[in-house]
Amino acid sequence: MMPNDNRRLILLLFAIAAGAAGIGLMRGMLNDYLLSIFNFVGIYIILAVSLNITNGFTGLFSLGHPAFMAIGGYVTAILTLPLMRKSMFLPDLPAWLAVVELPLLPALVIGGMLAALTAMLIGLPVLRLRGHYLAVATMGFLIIVQVLITNGDRFTRGPLGLNGLPAMTTLWWVYPWVLLTIYTAWKIKFSSFGRSLLAIRENEMAAQALGINLFFSRIGALAIGAFFAGIAGGLWAHLITAITPGSFSLIMAFYIVVMVVVGGSGSITGSIAGAIIVSLLTEVFRPIEEALNVYGMGEVVMALILILILVFRPEGLFGDREPAIFSPRPNFPTGRAPNKIKGE
């Protein structure tokens, strides 16, 4: 084992220990409001890092992330809903589903799996599109999912959504998933699979010439991103204890994209930083908006920040690199060299 590997391992263990201690400490000391903010930040980290696998590594610009989140969220919610409430809210459920009440973990995993499965199915046709055509098709997918949820009363209770879900999401649930998401993204980025994703992003034809299976790599990237989005959706639903179709909107997609772009698409560290910055900024704006009665100001500022970043620092905070301290070996390339701008 090279010294550098040791250092990283120690760093990781230290971070986990500090995180666990931190969670324990925070649960003891902080009030519910602050705890919920930390939970939201964690969920946004999962969303941003997983979207980064699709958008950042592979260059598949997808706006469908909230749709996968909605699928995961609804599936998890239906599976964990106490039987009493279930028979009240959803009297028309098929019999086999009406008698199911699962603990959170299996429900989350099933939700994530179904989101990933949907991603594969939708990816089959849609991933043939490129660039902003793909963006628009995934946006269409998002709207279709919203319409289906709104009208699928039998399973979703329509626009009312499901409320009174058991409040099971705590820091102990969120942050292990955060860690798993980051770990997966990291392993992907520095694996041969990840390299093939990066190659697809840089030059499809060259990647194909090197024997990379474009189709499976793309589907894989979309499905893995969707899996974690589904998990995030499930955690989200059990954090706010309610789920409505309106939550998973284009605005949500916009926020997650902003996180990835602000941090630097392709950089895991960047996505984490972006998620923290953006979600904390939203929390800062909320009381200001309410106090001064200036609703909408938060969004305006956020949009302005995004435009300024796109103009002045299009590669985001971290580009597509990771800080050297986390790098597997000295001088190991963690991203592409200086950001080049493709001309017309």
Partner: protein
């Protein structure tokens, strides 16, 4: 279901379609010239609607003047957006422009909420515009007729500008090949600006019509026409002006007929239908009905 009912639905589809077409034209022109999917285009519809509402408060202003002012207002907004957001990013990857336009859209919507509040407002045209006209089995209001007539007139004017003036030549040359156009001494910044101005003016006037048609406006109203215009542009072939017109009318008709002819239970799935059309269209006919197969989309 008799033929009169179907005819009525077709007329309704044409009215909706002409508004979609007006928005789609600008959308398509902007895409054609700088390959930008301008998500903020729909929000200019909203600005046009509110500008109309504001001008109608001044009782003396004749309606014709209001329409002209709304055209001008739309053009100005389009030019400001181009100068402020899109020109500094020219040459960046295509998706960058798309994200930026999403940001501009959210900014306009929320500036609207900030200054105008999210409360919907009533929007009513003068009484003579609301009068019903009956033509056999078909009935429509004066404002509906005005929408279709104005749309057709504006389209003719647009075609005259694009195909019969020096500015139009410059715009078409820039869309064809920006670098060569620049070498030929064309001021491409001006051509792009003009494209934004013309496209946004049409979107602005579509806002006036939208308000008149639906009678209620709010700061988020641009979302739907923006998306629908995009789909209309894709159906017709993005970048093609005549394609956008055709696509707009087709989409309007298809949407109204979908809701009008199928059992009411499907009506709620209207948007799912529209977006499925979009995805199928992108996959099967990515160049649209009238577009040219000039670049890689799929």
């Amino acid at each position: 279901m008799n033929s009169g009912y179907v005819l009525q639905q077709i007329v309704n589809g044409l009215i909706l379609g002409s508004m979609y077409a007006l928005v789609a034209i600008g959308f398509s022109m902007i895409y054609g010239i700088i390959r930008l999917i301008n998500f903020a285009h729909g929000d200019i519809v909203m600005i046009g609607a509110f500008a109309t509402l504001g001008l109608m408060q001044l009782k003396q202003v004749p309606f014709f003047v209001i329409a002209l002012a709304v055209l001008g207002c739309g053009a100005m907004v389009g030019m400001v957006i181009e100068r402020g957001a899109f020109r500094p990013m020219r040459g960046a990857p295509q998706v960058t422009g798309f994200i930026a336009s999403l940001a501009v859209s959210i900014m306009i919507q929320n500036l609207g909420i900030l200054f105008l509040t999210a409360q919907p407002r009533n929007f009513s045209f003068p009484a003579y515009m609301q009068r019903l006209i009956h033509w056999g089995p078909v009935s429509f209001r004066v404002v509906d007729a005005a929408i279709i007539v104005t749309t057709v007139l504006l389209m003719l004017m647009l075609l005259a500008i694009v195909y019969r003036t020096r500015l139009g030549v410059a715009m078409r040359a820039t869309a064809e090949n920006m670098d060569v156009a620049r070498l030929m001494g064309i001021n491409i910044n001006r051509a792009i600006w003009a494209t934004f101005a013309i496209g946004s003016a049409l979107a602005g006037i579509a806002g006036l019509m939208w308000g008149g048609k639906f009678g209620q406006i709010d700061p988020l109203l641009g979302y739907v026409p923006g998306l629908k215009a995009f789909i209309a542009a894709v159906i017709g072939g993005v970048g093609s002006i005549s394609g956008a017109m055709l696509g707009g009318f087709l989409l309007g008709l298809a949407e109204v007929l979908f809701v009008g002819l199928l059992p009411p239970i499907y009506a709620a799935y209207r948007d799912a239908f529209v977006f499925s059309t979009l995805i199928v269209m992108l996959l099967l006919l990515p160049n649209g009905l009238l577009g040219r197969a000039s670049e890689e989309r799929a």
